[in-house]
Amino acid sequence: MDTLINNLDLFVTGFKNTGILFVVSAVFALILGTIVAAMRVSPVPAMRAAGTLYVNTVRNTPLTLILAFFALGYPRLGLPEINFMVAAIIGLSLYTATYVAETIRSGINTVPVGQAEAARAIGLPFGKTLSLIIMPQAFRSVVPPLFSVLIALLKNTTVAAGFSVAEAGAIRANLSERGEPQMVGLLWVALIFIVLVLGVLSTLQRYLEKKWRVAR
């Protein structure tokens, strides 16, 4: 307990940054992932190909490499400078979006084709058929796997610590600099993560599953 209380500043900053990384990356990943999933079911072959290429390349690249690129490689490209936090958000979003896209695509496949046909039959164009009829039902059917993706994202924020973002995963290193017992610090970090996952994400998941139960 002392480790936690005496170094509350470290814990607070760490988990605040974790929170920011997680929430912002989750939002971008969900948006981008949805767009990519839509591309992958689009009637335009070029869109499908672009979506597939993106998913297959980024999903198969280790997250550490992606983050290393944004933290170490990107600054040398002579492009506008970005701080570590932004770099981490971009990396995490791009990476997580591929998982979101695949999860949503599997959800799209669970929506009966009759739904799209009925939508087209009343004159809805492709975009509206997708956004009003298919996607809402696809989302509902993938709430549990989508939350697994988000939980993975929450945990992956710790990887960003390796690239100088002072988030929760970095607390341990900072603690040892202050001469605090590392093991205790590590346990606290793990415990707070579990509380975050169980308390916040799982509760949200249960709530959405109940609210969005699709009756067929």
Binding site: P112, G114, Q115, E117, A118, A119, R120, A121, I122, G123, L124, P125, K128, L132, I133, P136, Q137, R140, V214, A215, R216
Partner: protein, 251 residues
């Protein structure tokens, strides 16, 4: 059947051909449906009835030939097609109500999102339509909470909300329990009486006799007979039709 001095047909199929791979599903189909006419399409399983219906509102593409609705040729894709589709109402065997939307929303969605109607107007119209097909009390429920017969009547209301020029029905009562068939047929008969142009794939001979102007018999992707209901049922010309009728009449 049609004489030259008659007005332009509302639905006009000229030499329509369609393949699924090696399978020739629609062979040189010529079919004209006049305004206000009710045409029943009948035929053995796999003869191409559904494909014909789906081709008429372009849910299925065709290889050759032309399909015109009210003088306008069906465009291949895009916005224009979406608009023309709204002129053709379609009712499916499996209802296909939007599972995540309430009954009311199912009926207002098209008018609001396709025709740009205001929510208030769309809802007023939808409630009147739901009342007309006898499910006014169910407006706020989800489709899964309704019986099959009720769902199919909602599907009819949903199609009617677009104010279509022609309504297509693909075996609208085949997925229903026997006791629900009549409630749907009654709505369709009423619609026919009010002068709606209809193409109905069905094996319900009661409906054909009561409401149809013509019966079109399809076999192997071809229109084999095209006759008045009484003539077709009592005096079929082709061997295929005789054979088919003997099978469905004994059941």
């Amino acid at each position: 059947m049609t004489s030259p001095e008659q007005p332009q047909p509302l639905v006009d199929l000229q030499a329509v051909n369609k393949h699924f791979g090696p399978l020739h599903v629609l062979r040189d189909i010529n079919l004209q449906v006049k305004r206000g006419e009710v045409v029943v399409v009948i035929g053995p399983s796999g003869s191409g009835k559904s494909t014909l219906c789906r081709a008429i509102n372009r849910l299925e593409t065709i290889d050759t030939g032309t399909i015109t609705i009210d003088g306008k040729t069906l465009p291949s894709e895009g916005k224009e097609l979406a608009h023309l589709r709204a002129d053709v109402g379609m009712v499916f065997q499996s209802f296909n109500l939007f599972a995540h939307k309430t009954i009311l929303e199912n009926v207002t969605l098209g008018p609001i999102k396709v025709k740009g109607a205001s929510k208030a107007d769309a809802e007023e119209q939808a409630r009147a339509l739901l009342e007309r097909v006898g499910v006014g009390q169910q407006a706020d429920k989800l489709p899964a909470q309704l019986s099959g017969g009720q769902q199919q009547r909602v599907a009819i209301a949903r199609a009617l909300a677009m104010k279509p020029k022609v309504m297509l029905f693909d075996e609208p009562t085949s997925a229903l329990d026997p006791e629900m068939i009549n409630e749907v047929l009654d709505v369709m008969i009423e619609l026919a009486r009010e002068g709606m142009t209809m193409v109905v794939v069905t094996h319900e001979m009661g409906f054909a006799r009561k409401a149809a102007d013509r019966v079109v018999f399809m076999a192997d992707g071809q229109i084999v007979e095209d006759a008045k209901p009484e003539d077709f049922f009592t005096n079929p010309q082709s061997a295929r039709a005789k054979d088919f009728l003997s099978k469905i009449l004994t059941h």
